[in-house]
Subunit: 388 residues, 2 copies
Amino acid sequence: MAIDFKKELETAARNMIFVHDPDLLIKIIVRMVVDKVQVEHASILMYKPDRQAYVLTVSGGSLAKKIPIGLAGFDKDDSLIRFFRERDSRLLFNSDVLTLEGAQAYLKTGQTKERLKHLLADVLYQMKMLETVTCVPSYFRDELLGILLLGRKKNGKSFLRGELDFFEALASNMSMAIRNANLFKELKSELDKKHQLFMRTTIALVAAIEAKDNYTHGHTTRVTNLSLEIAKRLSRKNKKAWDNKFIEKLHIASLLHDIGKIGIPEHILNKRGALTIGERNKIKEHPLIGVTILKPIRELEQALVGIKYHHERPDGLGYPEGLKGDQIPLVASIISVADSFDAMTTDRPYRAALYKNEAIKEIRKLSNLQFNPRVTEAFLELCQEGKL
Amino acid sequence: MAIDFKKELETAARNMIFVHDPDLLIKIIVRMVVDKVQVEHASILMYKPDRQAYVLTVSGGSLAKKIPIGLAGFDKDDSLIRFFRERDSRLLFNSDVLTLEGAQAYLKTGQTKERLKHLLADVLYQMKMLETVTCVPSYFRDELLGILLLGRKKNGKSFLRGELDFFEALASNMSMAIRNANLFKELKSELDKKHQLFMRTTIALVAAIEAKDNYTHGHTTRVTNLSLEIAKRLSRKNKKAWDNKFIEKLHIASLLHDIGKIGIPEHILNKRGALTIGERNKIKEHPLIGVTILKPIRELEQALVGIKYHHERPDGLGYPEGLKGDQIPLVASIISVADSFDAMTTDRPYRAALYKNEAIKEIRKLSNLQFNPRVTEAFLELCQEGKL
């Protein structure tokens, strides 16, 4: 029996370390206890910093039905919590583990301290409410992280010393694992925040730049949204989920696809009449200016091809390099369709907007010439479904 | 003896999980082994993905002097590594642990397989070179993470069974801890990359915006650098190290302090003659325009005060709110000095640059009126040290 527990514990500890979601970790632990130790139910009261309370997670038995998970919160001054936070169990029983029998026996002796007598009576009452016969607290550096609450054994017998030792060691490993999981969670949330900060700042700066130009207002946002929609559709068509990296690359590239226009004189960008060849060539520099601006940023290397090549065409008549067919990276081909559609359907200094239908027809007509046919197909499907 | 080891192991495992630097972790483990187990030396051959090799970390004894740490790399096909990667020890001895005596005894029997005979002879030779009497491999999911190499016991005796069991369990816990540390390291490096991405993209976009204006070229970079220098100096003067958060806030705020100028018509910004009152008032809107652009970005909330208030003055004559004295946040006060100094020492459409000395005099004169006196003092100290 004792050896089995040791092995269970070792395996449990090993696996716990790699579960980085604290809530999932707790669920796994209570389920494991119910399975391996054959108790009627097990639950964990775990401290949740965001709720400033100890919250119950239950597994097995009738208790799970009686107490809605996540609802039962015990605050820091609650008797059960206070008893273990102040390590009164260790004081009274020379062990952090509290059993129902131990508590009852102690209360029957006459030598109880007044404060602890009342507190322990409260604790006993709560244990009965929770159908708990044994409480195993879990500490990290003297701070109460949680309490493992155990129901009766299915065979009706009391816990053996070896079993109680196992629970105590489990609670101790649990505290490490939960602490570890919380650290991971914090780090991941920081990473997420930093990502949001990057995306939002880029969006805000691009929007501020764009706001100077009466004609392109909102263009970037629309191109970005449409590019992402096309990518989603393409991935569904190919029954291949793109990894987040591709989507992130496309997202960044579409946000920044026109950033190079900041280097084109405003009088050319906003010119109402026909452009001269010189002016046209100047405008065609914007993909490469964009690359120049962003090239120092090593982390954007992947996204740069989307910016550099979003005016290339499969027939080789695009710019800056006149790439053909499959030489054009997919990221650039997606942005190309989204960019052209948005340009066609909004007013420009030199012409009024086309109707959507005309623009869609135009894109269909130019499939394989100006646009990647796979991307065009995905785009047209979105149109048919009225998603534009 | 056995109980001591169990306790050591438990303590070690508990502490290992919270060391998130894999190199430090290995150092702690080898040092612990030398201290607690009283071996002449201990070392760990640990796989380093960046070097694609198993690299030695040594502690204690004469071996540490003989083999420069970090230099000795064993590649994946090296005999010692191959022997443990293929789990030949388990095949021959029914245990992952290999002892010098065990290997020697095995080679003396006639029944050795040819391949393993040669391999084991090589391994023995390497163990002797490394003054190692026991090798304890550490696996994570069948992948060899590293090998714990143990020198002789200081009392000259052989290892006991209990000691070997301890080492094996230690190696197993070590593999978890190292795996955990590597995961943390990866996540931290991702966070760092994302931070760099954010900073560099912001710098690039701000520089691109600034490049449109002939007069402010390089202004943002200079103001940012000077602001950070002033902050460093202030923190040294007050013998108080500012937390990274303050420095980050200042860094972001100084990078973006003039972003609102994007909303001011270029003909006003670049006007050569005197400005009308209306034009002046228009320019004074730039701190609030900056706030409007960046307000949606919750994560920038802290930095926004630096942008909003970098034209406030202690005498209350600044804008946009006419704050007085200590009402002005320190971030804004620092940017104010750096911004004014840079503006004074560069040509502007309406006047030529001042000499540095004149600008410094001007700032000293305006201390307490236009500039926070503490910040001015730090700035003047930098000047005296010729750091400008």
